[in-house]
């Protein structure tokens, strides 16, 4: 029984890890292609989720602003949009955001130090957070795109019959795992087997060489930011469905950091494996060690693990080897 309970904790941990990996993936994509650590990735997920809720509920964007300026009282258009169209429209908005970021920010910072680009993304994070609030209001929103939620009765019954112990597994977590797997497979397929993906890998590897074979860096940057925006949207949908669309959603980015330190900033498989290890590790640690130290280990376990990695393997599990040439 003890063992079975631990396995249940493990499975739940793995599924939580998938959610971390989803966020980490967005970081890796942009970091690989442009060497920019995009601090705004978490806020992008929040913004995408807010926009999706706003569109689906037929909210009027900038309603508060419009009301204050013109003395009217608008809030909703009075229609609702089906989830599929809402998601498609939000994805388009994320592409628009990518183009705006490239044109207004990145373009003017070409060739600057990484720290400057990093600072720019911090600014972008604050801006986006404000923009999201002004556009859609700061209230906690409920996001429901029709993903099944709650404990899966089927799995509980099946494991109960088979093992004599019913596993409690959230159906949303199962769906998140399936969707994340499909997303990763899609991304890997895209980067390995399409022309645009090959160009993306080329840019990630060497800017000068990429230019010399006729690749437009700006196009690739817009593309990568669009993809990262889409990944943010998927992460936003999952986390938003789970715990509501609110400011704290943007803080999931903080959970992605230890994942990245573990997996390496430049590796897509690293983001996945790192996410799984963190998710699994923190749940098991809480289960076995937690009671001895008074619990709440989930708050700090990931960061301590990341610190240990920084000491012993700073490039992460899958990162590029750091070679010092003398």
């Amino acid at each position: 029984m003890e063992f079975l309970y631990a396995s249940e904790v493990l499975v739940n941990g793995l599924m939580a890890g998938v959610m971390y990996a989803l966020v980490a993936l967005g970081f890796v994509l942009i970091y690989k292609a442009s060497g920019v650590f995009n601090y705004a990735q978490g806020v992008m997920a929040l913004f995408a989720a807010m926009t999706l809720v706003g569109i689906m509920e037929g909210r009027v964007p900038f309603a508060h602003l419009i009301n204050a300026l013109f003395g009217v009282h608008v809030s909703h258009f009075g229609w609702t949009v089906p989830a599929f169209f809402g998601i498609a429209l939000t994805a388009l908005i994320m592409v628009g955001l990518a183009i705006a970021v490239e044109k207004l920010v990145l373009k003017h910072l070409v060739g600057q130090e990484p720290i400057i680009l990093f600072m720019a993304t911090i600014g972008l994070a604050w801006f986006l957070e404000g923009l999201g609030d002004v556009m859609w209001g700061a209230d906690v929103k409920v996001l429901d795109v029709g993903l099944p939620q709650g404990i899966s009765d089927g799995i509980e019954a099946a494991t109960n019959d088979w093992l004599g112990y019913g596993f409690f597994i959230d159906r949303l977590d199962i769906w998140a795992t399936v969707i994340a797997a499909a997303l990763v497979a899609g991304l890997v397929g895209f980067s390995q087997y399409t022309k645009q993906g090959r160009a993306m890998r080329a840019v990630a590897d060497d800017h000068q060489a990429a230019l010399s074979v006729g690749i437009s860096l700006r196009f690739i940057w817009i593309m990568v930011w669009s993809i990262a925006g889409f990944v943010a949207l998927v992460a936003g949908i999952m986390w938003g469905t789970k715990s509501g669309v609110q400011f704290s959603l943007s803080l999931i980015a903080l959970k992605a950091l230890p994942v990245l330190m573990l997996g390496g900033f430049t590796s897509i498989p690293g983001a996945i494996v790192g996410g799984l290890i963190i998710g699994m590790g923190e749940k098991l640690f809480e289960y076995f060690i937690g009671p001895m130290v008074g619990g709440a280990t989930e708050n700090w376990f990931a960061y301590v693990l990341a610190l240990l990695f920084l000491v012993f393997r700073p490039q992460g599990l899958f990162g590029e080897r750091i070679i010092e040439r003398v």
């Binding site: 890998r201 080329a202 590897d205 990429a210 010399s212």
Partner: protein, 272 residues
């Protein structure tokens, strides 16, 4: 179109065509430093054109001007009879100018095959959906492009390293892969920045042979930079000599060799 002069033949019977690229009064400055001073010369179709000069003469700058990495402050670049507006390097590449770099710019994380395939990116026009389901135009294109790339791989004798990540290759082979990637674009002009630099004698001979064969069999127009005088004289049809950013000589290898200014600037310096 260009006022085409009658086709000429090089001494060994190769066809030398009309002027493909004409550089007129190019001046390039970096702040107060003048890297290139009022240089004009042309590149004709089917020839091997060399730019030589001692270190710091401005050869690489010249190549960077041609390939769009530097934009000159003054002067005009005419390509295929049309004046070229200021362009980004990737736009120049799409016009049909492929280049290699003096200190090798390859995609280290990718295999040799993938590296060479990037040279053909601009020949692939299939839309993303077609690539996604691997059907129709995308499939046809990929197969055609792979065939072309395999030809180049055969030609440069790198079959056995096709799947090797480039980062693991020795220097001489990297140079060859870089040449293969440039060739894969089927360029109108192939620009080589010191293709023989840092190679041993055997590697140099191989590279020489490849360059000559390319030009001979496929009629590829080649512009190259080199400071190994012997190599240049054997390879090229015409030579531009640069020194301190100026052009001090232009002509066949024999003409250049006999030019007193070249002798004093180039050979004089190197004998010291």
């Amino acid at each position: 179109m260009i006022a085409t002069p009658a086709t000429e033949f090089a001494t060994d019977g190769r066809r030398i065509g009309p002027v493909l690229m004409d550089l007129r009064n190019i001046t390039l400055r970096f702040g107060g430093v003048v890297a290139i001073k009022d240089i004009s010369f042309d590149i004709r179709e089917g020839e091997i054109r060399a730019i030589i000069g001692p270190n710091g003469a401005g050869k690489s700058s010249m190549l960077n001007v041609i390939s769009g990495f530097y934009v000159p402050q003054e002067g005009e670049i005419w390509f295929e009879g049309k004046k070229r507006p200021p362009m980004k390097p990737y736009e120049v590449a799409r016009l049909g100018l492929a280049r290699t770099f003096q200190n090798i710019a390859l995609f280290d994380g990718m295999s040799v095959l993938d590296n060479i395939m990037t040279g053909r990116l601009n020949r692939m026009k299939a839309p993303l959906w077609s690539q996604a389901i691997w059907w129709g135009r995308a499939e046809r294109e990929e197969v055609e492009n792979r065939e072309q790339v395999e030809k180049i791989i055969d030609f440069l004798e790198i079959q056995n390293i096709r799947k090797t990540p480039v980062g693991r290759l020795p220097y001489g082979l990297k140079k060859r892969v870089e040449l293969a990637r440039a060739l894969a674009a089927e360029p109108r002009i192939l620009l080589l920045d010191e293709p023989m630099a840092g190679m041993n004698v055997e590697e140099k001979e191989d590279m020489c042979r490849f360059i000559l064969d390319l030009n001979d069999e496929f009629g590829t127009t080649i512009a190259l930079i080199e400071h190994d005088m012997g190599v240049v004289m054997d390879l090229s049809d015409r030579v531009v000599v640069m020194d301190y950013g100026r052009k001090i000589g232009d002509g066949t290898p024999d003409e250049v060799r006999a030019n007193p200014e070249v002798i004093s600037a180039y050979l004089g310096v190197s004998q010291e």
